[in-house]
Structure formats: C-alpha cells, structure tokens
C-alpha cells in the first residue's frame, strides 16, 4: 500500500514535471539567447577570431537559427564541445542544437536519440599526394605508403577501398592531424588520407600548397549536419527549415544583396512564401512571417556562407562538388516551401 502510494506520487510528480517543462522554443525565447554547440575549433567550420567572435561554416547555421527565432544573429551563446562531450551536452539540455561537423549515422540518429535535421556539408574521405609523384587517381596508388589516423572509420574505409580495387598499400599509423602533417611533409608516407575538407584545410597551411593535389576519388560518405534532441519536434522543424531556407534561397537566387528588394514581393510565389510576403509558413512554425528573411540576412544564403568560409577564394579552397545545388549536379535539395 505504502509502496503504491509512493510510486503514484512519483508518477504524478513526473507527469507534472513533464507538463511544466517548457518547449525548447519557449526556453530559447525566454532566455533571449540560443545555446548552440560548436567544435572547440576547426579551420573554416568554427573558430573564434582575434576579437573572440565566432566565425565559420557551422557557426553560420547557429546564427541563422538565432536570427530566425530571436531576430538577432548575435544572440547566440556558443558552447564549445569536444568530440567526447558533444552528445551529452545535447542530451542533457545544456545546448539547444549542435552544429559541429557531426556525421549523420544510423546509430547516432536512432540509438543516441537525436534528430539530424539535414545535411549542411557532404564530406567524404579523400587522398592528398605530392604533385611531383604524378598520380591522378587513387586507383594508381598500388604499393603506396599511406598516413592514416588509427582507430577511426577512415582506417576501415581505406582497407575496404584497397581490397575492393585489388591493390596493396602500407599503412603508417599516426595519432593526430598535426602529427600527420609533419609525417607527410617529411616524406614518411606518400599519401595522407582523411576527410576531404580536413585535407584541404591541412593543405592550406603548407608552405607551398600548390605542390600537393587532392585526388578525385572520395571513398566514404560523411554527411555532416546540425542535430537536435528527440522529443521536441517543433524545435526540430524550426532548425530543419532554417537550414532548408538557406539552401532554397540559393536555388531561387535570393542573396543578402538582393533580399531587401525581393522581400517587397516578386512574381515567383515560392520566393514570396519563403520571404513571408505570401502564405503563413512562419506562423506554422510558431514564428513570425519574416523568419526566413532574417535567417538569410544573417550570413547570406548557403552559397554565400560556403564561399565566405570554406569556398575557393578562401585559403581552404574547397570546391562545391557534392555540395552544389541539385540543379548544378550536386546533392543540395531543399523540399519545397509550400
């Protein structure tokens, strides 16, 4: 009897706590800032500059969400997370969303109970090799020595790739990216393999970047994207459609330069719905009509963000590749705003 009363009280308390807990959107609005988990520093993707301002490709997603929800792209509290602390920070509610070049995998989505809201960068494992070796394809790498970080999925991908193509290689195990740079430059290995964006960033730090080439083969799928917790689908929708708004804006030619003009109304109903001059998309999200306009104005559309942080004019110099719009042969494909 006593036990059941106790359990009943616990249940009631639990239900009350559940009902009393505000939604993430209400929390963020009440707090006035968005808690966004980022990396402690990754070239081009997220790093504070000399004035302590966070900049980068992942940071831009946080800023866009803050602009959409709070109307202020600077109302973000960036919470730096390491590869080890990122998931607990999100699960425990310390951060509202995580934008930390995190690969979307089955187990993270299902088992860790997170919701990946989309992909903002399609990465994949690539190869870097000195130009003087004259190799133009990874399939010509028979007998090469390969610098590879131990204990990562890249190691397994490499073994699979070489076995599938029936060629041999000799691995040179290394621990960190910094060590890999030194080993590779010292000639301890012919090839360095890791994620293509990482290779490009590494190459950018070399004294003579043009002496090294990235081979065209990408041998694994690493879709990186922002994620939120399970259990608050409205909040997940907001982050998902903010990312989609950035991608769609590029597709429709809406940029930070012409958005003021386009926001006064256009002939294209899709743009009008996106920018809030037609329809009530913003209200459906629980936001106002101009949410997407603010998100785009924060850093520009997807293409502008890409070009500014990691594009070909930056020292990192990544080509769009898979991250081009679907109309240009890439994988970026926002569902319609309707």
């Amino acid at each position: 009897m006593k036990k059941s009363v106790f359990l009943g009280a616990l249940t009631v308390a639990g239900l009350a706590a559940g009902a009393a807990a505000a939604t993430t959107l209400e929390d963020v609005k009440a707090r006035g800032t968005l808690n966004c988990g980022v990396t402690t520093g990754l070239v081009g993707f997220a790093a504070p500059d000399a004035n302590g301002e966070w900049n980068g490709f992942d940071v831009a997603v946080c800023r866009a969400v803050a602009a959409a929800v709070l109307g202020d792209a600077s109302a973000v509290e960036f919470v730096p997370t390491t590869g080890k602390t990122r998931f607990t920070a999100l699960a425990s509610g310390e951060i509202d969303m995580l934008a930390r070049n995190t690969t979307w995998t089955f187990s993270r989505d299902v088992d860790l109970k997170f919701e990946f809201v989309g992909v903002n960068y399609y990465d994949g494992q690539g190869f870097m090799i000195p130009k003087e070796l004259g190799v133009s394809s990874a399939k010509d790498l028979d007998g090469a020595t390969v610098c590879i970080q131990t204990g990562t999925t890249t190691e397994l991908n490499l073994a699979d790739f070489f076995r599938a193509n029936n060629i041999s290689y000799e691995p040179v195990p290394i621990e960190t990216n910094a060590e890999a740079q030194q080993q590779y430059l010292a000639g301890a290995c012919d090839v360095y393999t890791t994620d293509a964006s990482g290779l490009a960033a590494t190459r950018a730090t070399f004294e003579d970047p043009t002496a090294h080439v990235l081979l065209p083969e990408i041998i694994s799928k690493e879709p990186l994207g922002p994620l939120v917790r399970h259990g608050d689908n409205e909040w997940g929708d907001i982050v998902r459609w903010t990312l989609n708004a950035l991608i769609a804006a590029e597709e429709y030619g809406v940029s930070s330069a012409n958005i003021g003009e386009l926001a006064s109304g256009t002939d294209n109903p899709e743009i009008n719905r996106l920018l809030g001059t037609e329809g009530t998309l913003g209200e459906m999200l629980g936001l106002d009509l101009e949410w997407a306009k603010r998100a785009i104005m924060a850093n520009g559309n997807y293409g502008e963000i890409f070009a500014k942080n990691i594009g070909e004019t930056t020292p990192i110099g990544l080509a769009r590749g898979l991250n081009a719009q679907w109309t240009d042969g890439g994988l970026l494909y926002s569902p319609p705003f309707r």
Binding site: G41, D49, T85, T314
Partner: protein
C-alpha cells in the same frame, strides 16, 4: 755554532723569495677548466662532445628565434616576409597575446581585474611563504580569497561579503564551543556558516544592484593561462589542509573516520584525473536540472582538489610514519591532548619531512590543470589547440605556440621548486 757550516755552504739566503705568480695552468679560468672540464681524457672527450651538441642545438634554434617575425597578421604573411629563410612566426603570440593569457571571452577592458588579483596574490601569499614577515599580514591573506573572487568574477559585492560573514560567524561559533567539545564546535561552526549563507543568499538577491560596481563575468568566459593559474592556486591551497586532515584521519583510532578516509584516498588514487574531470563536466549535467547548473569552474575545482588532496594525504602520512614513536609518546607524557600534540609536536616535524613530496604534487597538479582542455575549457593549451590553431590565419604554427606554453609553465614550476629548496634549507634543524 752558527758558523759551523760557514765554509760548507756557499750561500745562505736571508730573505724570502718573492711570491711568484702561480703557474698559468694552476690558476684562474684555466685551472677551473682543467679541473672541471678536462680533468681526464674521458672528461675532455665528454666536454668536447657536449660542446658540439650545444653548438648543434643553438645553431639550429638561435637563427630561428632571432630571425623571428613579430608583426604579421597570418602565417602566410610570415612566410612571405621570411621568404624562405629560417625564422619563427612569433606574430601569433603578438596577435593572440591576450587570448593566450585571458582566453577569448574575458572582456578586454576588464583585464586589469585579474592582473590586480595576481599582484595581490603575491602580497597575500608572502606571509604564508616567508614566515619572517609580520604576522599581521595574515589578515590580508585571509581576506584575499574574497577580494580575488570579487575582482575576477565581479558582480555584486554583497556575495563575497556574505561569504566572508559566513566564515567569520562559523569561526566565532567554533571558538565559543570548541572548549566543550571539538565535535560540537566543528559542526556548530558549519551549521552557523550555512545559516548565514542561506539567509545572505536572499539578502544579496533582494539588494543586488542592477549595475554592480564591477561588471559580472561568467565562469565560462575565463580562459588562457589565467585559468591555469586560478585552478592551480585554488586547488593547491585547498588540497593541503584537506590532505592533512585525510592523513590524520587515516591514522585515527576511530574506525568510522579511518574507514571514510581510507576509502576516499584509495578510491581517488585508483581513478585517473581525466575520468574525474569527465564526471565533473559530463555526468553531473545529467543529475542536475538544466537551469540548476552548478558552475563548471567550481565542479572542476572540487574534482582536482579531491584528486590532489588524496595524494598529499599519502605524502603527509609518509612524513607522519617517519617520526620516531618517541615523539608521540613524548607528547603524551607532557600531558598534551590530541590537537595540541599534533599542532605543536607532530605536524611541524612531519610536514617538514613532507615538503619535497608536497611540492612534487603541487607542481604536478599545476601542470595537470591543462587537462581541462579536454572538457572544452579554454585554458592555455585549450586556447592553442582549439581557437588559435583552428583559425585560418594561424593553422600550422605549432612550435612557437607550444614553446611559449612550455616557457610559461617552466617559469612557474621552477619558481615553486626554488622556493621549496629555500624552505628546506631554512627549516633544516638537524645537525649534519
């Protein structure tokens, strides 16, 4: 008799030979060289080899250091300026100087506050470290933690004042009741302090001004070498008293106290520090509701203090064990009670024996504070590994940054070690 040999000796010298200068190889630098560097063939060979190694090291590092560039804004510019010549890119230190010392979020117009706190730290530590100084200075030492807290974190001045009142109140209650029984005094003091803090919490909340005299800075904005120093100083000064208590507790004849101390020490020593830090940063977040977040800095301080106090307890236990049993018996035969015996006879001797061990732990602890970079706190190493090396301008500058970090740590650790050697000489009462 004096002329007995007058014929046999042709010449008798009647004045002393003027002192000739010592042979050239028996004096001055030459003698020193011969004795110390070229005493034997083996030594001479070793000297030449050592000189060659020194030459190799200097000839490769000196041009690198002296040819260093200090004024560019990125690594690429450094390389342009150097144009293929060897030279370090110290510009990163110049540009990110404040970030290395204070982290990237501490407001730059408030840098004077931690600097002032550091200067005051030397004044506060002086009477503890050098006991020839007037004892009245200890009053400032007692006040220092509250002043430093207020300077670094800012906010309402009522918070440190209430904290201070709690400590004073607790001490008054303790000294009032300790004559009756130590336990009454001890727990009464703790209860009094808690009551004062609890009531004071409401008062500070009610009276907190909207614009405090010093702008409040949250803990997560702390960083750089400042964070290392703060963690090191706080944890060392907290863990020494705690370690003494644990060491005495482990020798206690009361089974409960002894059991608790033994379990605590053995558990903490059996767990790596990095595990404790992960518990502090990751696991505790699950147990607290998100809004009732205990400050991360405080969590880390608690964990590091627990860790180092367990080690210090073992060092001090070694000191206690080294004392002859006669010392304990002498204290008993003088009619001293436990607290007096410990304070007047046992601990002064045991602590003196333990100095090298304690300093060893303190130096290790100070260097271990860089481990907080793995739980995404931006201490000196965290700043280097994270924001600075991840910026597009400075990606690839390793030697300069890590060398600078090593230099800062060396200066502090060498200072600690020199002080401990001075202290050992100063306390040397045995007649060798």
């Amino acid at each position: 008799m004096s002329d007995t040999h007058a014929q046999s000796v042709a010449f008798v010298r009647d004045t002393a030979i003027p002192a000739a200068p010592a042979p050239a190889n028996e004096t001055g630098p030459v003698k020193w060289l011969r004795e110390n560097l070229f005493a034997t063939w083996a030594n001479a060979l070793l000297t030449v080899a050592a000189l060659f190694v020194i030459y190799l090291i200097l000839s490769s590092t000196l041009p690198w250091i002296l040819g260093g560039v200090w004024t560019t804004t990125s690594l690429a510019e450094c390389r342009e300026v150097l144009a293929g010549q060897t030279g370090a890119c110290f510009s990163v230190l110049a540009e990110r100087w404040n970030q290395l010392l204070f982290g990237f979020k501490y407001p730059s117009e408030l840098y004077w506050r931690p600097i002032l706190a550091l200067v005051l730290l030397f004044i506060a530590a002086a009477p503890v470290l050098f006991f020839d100084l007037p004892r009245k200075l200890l009053i400032f030492t007692a006040l220092y933690p509250f002043i430093a807290f207020w300077l670094i974190w800012g906010g309402s001045i009522l918070v440190p004042i209430v904290a201070l009142l709690g400590v004073v109140g607790g001490y008054l209650v303790y000294s009032r009741f300790v004559a009756q029984s130590f336990a009454t005094g001890f727990f009464g003091g703790i209860v009094a302090a808690l009551i004062i803090w609890y009531i004071g919490g409401f008062i500070t909340e009610a009276l907190a001004p909207a614009n405090p005299m010093l702008t409040a800075v949250p803990s997560r904005d702390l960083g750089g070498f400042m964070l290392n120093l703060m963690l090191g100083v706080t944890c060392v000064s907290l863990s020494i008293p705690l370690g003494i208590a644990l060491a005495l507790g482990r020798q206690s004849s009361m089974p409960l106290i002894k059991g608790i101390c033994v379990i605590f020490i053995e558990f903490i020593r059996g767990v790596p520090l990095i595990t404790l830090l992960f518990v502090a940063s990751v696991m505790l977040a699950y147990f607290f509701p998100p809004e009732a977040n205990v400050d991360l800095f405080l969590r880390v301080v608690i964990m590091i203090t627990m860790f180092s106090s367990a080690y210090i307890a073992e060092v001090i236990r070694g000191g206690l064990a080294a004392l002859p049993k006669g010392q304990y018996e002498a204290a008993d035969s003088l009619g001293l009670e436990y607290a007096q015996a410990m304070r007047l006879i046992i601990l002064p001797q045991a602590l003196k024996i333990s100095i090298p061990g304690i300093v060893n732990i303190a130096v290790g602890l100070f260097k271990d504070t860089t481990l907080v970079s793995v739980i995404s706190m931006f201490d000196l190493v965290g700043m280097i590994r994270g924001p600075i090396l991840a910026s597009t301008e400075w990606n690839g500058v390793y030697w300069e940054l890590l060398g600078f970090a090593a230099l800062l740590f060396f200066v502090v650790c060498y200072g600690i070690s020199q002080y401990s050697q001075w202290l050992e000489r100063r306390l040397a009462t045995d007649h060798r």
